[in-house]
């Protein structure tokens, strides 16, 4: 499915005057400059991809263009006239809308209320919910989102929220639509639908700025590609002139090694983690699985299949009932994060901003939060150890920062992910469960993380990887379990691990996830 979408490559020549032009834009936060002298043309009817490593400044540039932040220097022009936006609303009025990389929706409001927030439709004095719900249903259908207009956004899974966010940008006619990693949280189906939408927008003459770390998307979709590195503009090329490998090398500024480490030899060992009949409220049904030391167990499935629920239930983070849970032969009676961690199992959440990191705290406090008891045997907190561990982590995990006193929230997504990884590894686990290990991570960091997973498995740890990115699942896993509607639907090993097989198992019989809820 994904394959099909990506193969149809239709680049069209777009020339003519730019709808939006950035000249010499720069941005600094206090003493730290994150963007220097970026000059960029965006033309009507083109898909303009912006690529770069994590922290290259892509999101920052988009925030400047869409009025979410004010540039420290440089100017912007629309149709030849200079513009300056004091806030996002002005930019939206001018026809520029940004879909944020992170989810920015009011959790207590319904989908329709979120979509129309700030521009509610009304009749006489009252808001016209009927009309808004109808319009919402239309746009939701367009982006392939199955949420109901009146569902509370806080109750939706992340992927659905991401689609809601995209739907919000499509509600009105725009000149420029900026999508900042729109597919990071989506699975293949949704990605295909989204790519189609982007194409149709382009056909309508809208300029789409598209940020993604999935270079195959960029290759399939973009007309032109702009590469940023370390806050500087490397250049803009017609997409037809670049292949994925060239793009990647432009981004990182050096030659790339292999993305996936070579597969390991199968091992004979007792399972490190054994789970029997694990059922999680509103999510997963009677899951039985195990993982051995030295093995990567991949878990695939469509969004909403219940993979996250299964693992969160296992960790006691959701109400769940288990037949049996055994870690290294030891039975765990009532799993919770603490006992699981003590037994050697850690879970790395897919929601790194909401559940993974304390955004307002520094690196150190985040790093040692989980393993506080292991790092500090007594009551006291050893701040020297904390600082040492922080330095060590920054080095080992290659976290790119300019000062150790930076807050976790100020790190770019990739660096946050590395920090999160380092955080769970502080507990020195024997089983690591990673939910979406590379969501929103650039290709350079990705291979680092893959190599890292490989290292720890080679060191005799067991690893479970939940991923919606098929190449990643296939490239990393020794064994793949595919979930469908809350149940394990298939197990793939050896050469059976292919993207086609995973997709088939994930989608075959039940094509809607609602069936499970009814059950």
């Amino acid at each position: 499915m994904k394959q099909a979408a990506i193969d149809t490559k239709d680049v069209r020549a777009t020339s003519g005057p730019p709808v939006l032009r950035a000249e010499g834009l720069s941005k600094s936060y206090g003493p730290i400059t994150v963007l220097t002298d970026v000059t960029l043309d965006i033309r009507a009817g083109e898909v303009h991809a912006i690529i770069g490593e994590n922290g290259a400044g892509k999101s920052t540039l988009m925030k400047l263009l869409s009025g979410h932040a004010a540039p420290s220097g440089g100017t912007m022009k629309m149709a030849g006239a200079q513009v300056a936006f004091s806030d996002a609303v002005q930019a939206e009025d001018a026809g520029i809308v940004l879909v944020h990389q992170e989810i920015l929706l009011a959790p207590d409001l319904s989908v329709a209320q979120n979509l129309f927030l700030g521009r509610e439709l009304s009749r006489f004095f009252a808001v016209d919910d009927k009309r808004m719900n109808r319009r919402t249903a239309e746009v939701l259908a367009r982006v392939g989102c199955t949420a109901r207009p009146w569902s509370r956004v806080g109750d939706l899974p992340l992927a659905q929220r991401q689609l809601v966010q995209i739907a919000r940008a499509l509600l009105d006619d725009r000149k420029v639509i900026i999508l900042d990693e729109p597919t990071a949280m989506l699975a293949n189906d949704e990605v295909d639908a989204l790519l189609d939408i982007v194409r149709s927008l382009r056909a309508q003459g809208v300029a789409v700025l598209y940020i993604s770390h999935r270079l195959e998307e960029v290759e399939a979709l973009a007309d032109r590609v702009t590469v940023l590195r370390d806050g500087k503009m490397i250049g803009t090329w017609p997409a037809a002139d670049l292949d994925q490998r060239q793009m990647a090398e432009l981004m990182v500024g050096r030659e790339l090694s292999m993305l996936y480490p070579p597969k390991r030899e199968p091992v004979e060992a007792e399972p490190a983690l054994m789970v029997e009949d694990l059922s999680v409220d509103h999510g997963a049904i009677r899951g039985t699985f195990s993982v051995k030391p030295g093995e990567v167990l991949g878990i695939g499935g469509m969004i909403g299949a219940g993979r996250t629920e299964m693992m969160e239930g296992l960790m006691g983070l959701r109400p769940a009932q288990a037949g049996a849970v055994r870690v290294n032969g030891k039975t765990i009676n009532k799993p919770d994060v603490g006992t699981m961690m003590a037994a050697g199992v850690v879970y790395l959440t897919e929601d790194r901003k909401g559940k993974g990191l304390l955004l307002n705290e520094g690196l150190g406090p985040n790093l040692i939060l989980q393993a506080l008891d292991m790092i500090n045997p007594g009551l006291r907190l050893d701040r020297k150890k904390e600082l040492a561990a922080t330095r060590e982590t920054v080095k080992e995990y290659d976290i790119r920062i300019r000062s150790l006193s930076i807050q976790a929230g100020q790190l770019s997504g990739g660096n946050q992910q590395k920090l999160l990884l380092a955080k769970v590894m502080q507990a020195n686990p024997s089983v690591v469960i990673i939910d979406e290990p590379t969501r929103g991570i650039d290709i350079g960091n990705k291979s680092q993380i893959y190599r890292f997973i490989d290292d720890l498995v080679r060191a005799g740890k067991a690893c479970i990887v939940i991923s919606s990115e098929l190449p990643e699942l296939v490239g990393l896993s020794d064994r793949v379990l595919v979930m469908r509607a809350g149940r394990f639907a298939a197990e793939l090993t050896g050469t059976d691990i292919t993207e086609q097989n995973v997709v088939y198992a994930a989608a075959s019989s039940g094509n809607d996830t609602k069936g499970r809820k009814r059950a």
Partner: protein
């Protein structure tokens, strides 16, 4: 999803009963049942009317507080503000009485509404322009309003002119087709509040701001404006309560409205509005006000607890009500 399917979507969840939202009404029912069992007089029409009428003050102010709390704010100054507005209103009415006669009453009421709204505006502006915690701001203005009323009464009391008394009295004690005026006023205010909160753009933005103010800001909502306006609504509601209050007690003293802020906030929270903002239940607030008033009434009617322990029993009942709420709504 085809457009035919879309057209057939139900318009809202209107018909699905949300137990969580009903909790305050169920709690009210249970307490009324208990009251009936404890004292046979409880159910007398007279007693019920008294209780309902009396709950008007907390309910009316509570409607305003629901707005403030829904935006994520908090107003501790309402009790003092009520006293201050009552004081100003009485002074205005007394001053106008010689010239206007009974017309001094509506004139005074208008003065009250203006002053109340301005007091709310003051709170709102300090909170939004000064970007200070509402808790602290309104704690400060609470002291200020309380001091002003003490000053205005010279530490004693400020009563309404005898000549106005009888003309004004019916506003609290009178009724329309058997429904006491304060109850009617409460209903009107609650209806208005519910309309504004659930059916207008402003109401939408109130919950949006309380739910996530960053999102609201990015969506072009003037967060400061919405917050300030909520405080103004609060001030207006306080003034309406003041207008109902004066005919009942006829005077302002430095202790008027003392600790009402706590009662109002309790009513709002019992009613199901979240203190962190983002979710608001106008009718829940009204039920909450009734619950508090009924509890107090039952305490007076029953002779079971020592006078000293009344406050303890009330506190315990509120906690138990919230616990019950929690466990019914988590279903």
């Amino acid at each position: 999803m085809s457009s035919a399917e879309i057209a057939s979507l139900p318009e809202s969840e209107g018909f699905k009963i949300r137990w969580g939202d009903l909790a305050p009404f169920i709690a009210l029912g249970v307490i009324i049942l208990l009251g009936t069992m404890i004292n046979s007089n409880f159910m007398s029409a007279n007693n019920l009317l008294n209780v309902i009428t009396r709950s008007a003050f907390i309910a009316i102010i509570g409607v305003g507080a629901t707005f403030v709390i829904a935006t994520g704010g908090l107003d501790l100054s309402i009790g003092s503000m009520l006293a201050f507005v009552v004081g100003i209103m009485i002074m205005a009415m007394n001053a106008l009485a010689p010239a206007l006669g009974p017309w001094a009453i509506p004139a005074g009421a208008v003065v009250a509404l203006v002053v109340g709204s301005l007091c709310g505006l003051l709170n709102g502006l300090i909170v939004t322009v000064g970007r200070i915690e509402p808790f602290i701001v309104t704690l400060g203005t609470m002291g200020i309003f309380r001091a002003l009323i003490t000053y205005m009464t010279d530490g004693g009391s400020l009563s309404i002119d005898r000549s106005l008394r009888s003309a004004y009295r019916p506003l609290y004690f009178g009724d329309f087709l058997g429904v006491p005026y304060p109850v009617i006023i409460t209903l009107v205010i609650a209806l208005l509040g519910a309309f504004i909160l659930y059916r207008t753009k402003y109401g939408r933005r109130v919950t949006a701001v309380g739910s996530n103010s960053d999102v609201a800001r990015f969506s072009g909502v003037h967060v400061g404006g919405v917050r300030t306006m909520a405080f103004v609504i609060q001030g207006f509601c306080v003034a309406v309560a003041a207008i109902c209050y004066v005919p009942r007690l006829g005077a302002a003293t430095p202790t008027t409205g003392q600790l009402w802020e706590l009662q109002v906030i309790t009513a709002v929270v019992i009613g199901g509005t979240l203190l962190r903002g983002g979710k608001a239940h106008i009718w829940g607030t009204v039920a909450g006000a009734l619950i508090l008033e009924v509890i107090a009434n039952v305490m007076v009617l029953s002779d079971m607890v020592s006078e000293y322990l009344v406050a303890a029993v009330q506190g315990a009942i509120i906690i138990i009500a919230m616990l019950a709420h929690r466990f019914t709504s988590s279903r």
